[in-house]
């Protein structure tokens, strides 16, 4: 959905239905879409987890060093969207 939405075609949905109910497919799709939208937005806001992986409360500067990285464009990766 995020990188190669063209691949989510009738055959893909046919396979999905072998594993999940239609309710579950809608739930999964909406959840994924929600995350596609929000994670890039959050990335631009430059905030990071309050705790390190070992559970220490860390400053945002330290957390940026631990978890940091610029938000990536879907257009510039392998993904194909829009236009």
């Amino acid at each position: 959905m995020a990188l190669n939405p063209d691949q989510i075609d009738a055959a893909f949905h046919g396979e999905l239905r072998r594993h999940y109910s239609e309710e579950e497919i809608v739930e999964l799709g909406a959840f994924i879409g929600f995350n596609i939208g929000y994670h890039t937005f959050f990335g631009t806001l430059k905030f990071y987890p309050m705790f390190s992986p070992d559970g220490r409360l860390v400053s945002q500067e330290e957390s940026a060093r631990i978890y940091g990285g610029a938000p990536a464009s879907l257009e510039k990766g392998k993904g194909k969207r829009g236009k």
């Binding site: 939405p5 949905h13 309710e23 809608v26 909406a30 879409g33 939208g37 890039t40 631009t44």
Partner: protein, 178 residues
């Protein structure tokens, strides 16, 4: 035809979900199709439709500007469903198709848009195409035009609608996945 069959109207019996779908149809964004697909997961449908409506219609940012941004995002997402919908409320408030086209296209030198509106349109354009440009300087410029509450409203609106458009694109066959 959608890959996930929408429920028939008579199959949707939850009064709250029925009312949300009625509100969607009145606004025109979304029409009844997307809500009826979401209704396969009724708990999710109610939360998502409430958020779609609230983020688009409520708040301190002009609904007409949000409508232009929404169409622009749908085109970026490659989603013909949401790109083809129009808000009746925005139309009644004076938004015409020419202005939508201008906002979804090369708006930078278009006198129809204020400096603040151009910043908001850039926000929507860069968020998913060049997110590295949405940096501290970009937000600092935004704060000269909008309150922090308005910027959060805009950012959340952009993120949520783009996410639902990315999902909607995968629900129906089109030139991309026929």
């Amino acid at each position: 035809m959608t890959f996930v069959k929408p429920l028939l109207p008579e199959e949707i019996r939850d009064p709250e979900l029925q009312e949300l779908i009625r509100r969607c149809e009145a606004l025109g964004v979304p029409d009844a199709l997307f809500p009826r697909v979401l209704a396969r997961a009724p708990g999710h449908a109610k939360a998502l439709l409430r958020a779609l409506l609230h983020s688009h219609v409520e708040g301190a940012v002009d609904h007409r500007l949000k409508e232009i941004i929404r169409v622009r995002l749908a085109r970026t997402a490659g989603d013909p469903y949401f790109a083809g919908l129009r808000s009746a409320r925005a139309r009644q408030a004076g938004l015409d198709e020419s202005t939508i086209e201008a906002g979804a296209g090369s708006f930078e030198n278009d006198p129809r848009f204020t400096t603040a509106e151009k910043w908001a349109l850039r926000y929507a354009r860069e968020m998913y195409l060049n997110p590295e440009k949405v940096d501290a300087a970009f937000y600092a410029e935004g704060k000269t035009h909008y309150s922090e509450a308005q910027i959060m409203e805009l950012g959340a609106f952009i993120a949520f609608h783009y996410g639902m458009q990315a999902f909607a694109r995968t629900l129906a066959p089109g030139p991309h996945n026929a």
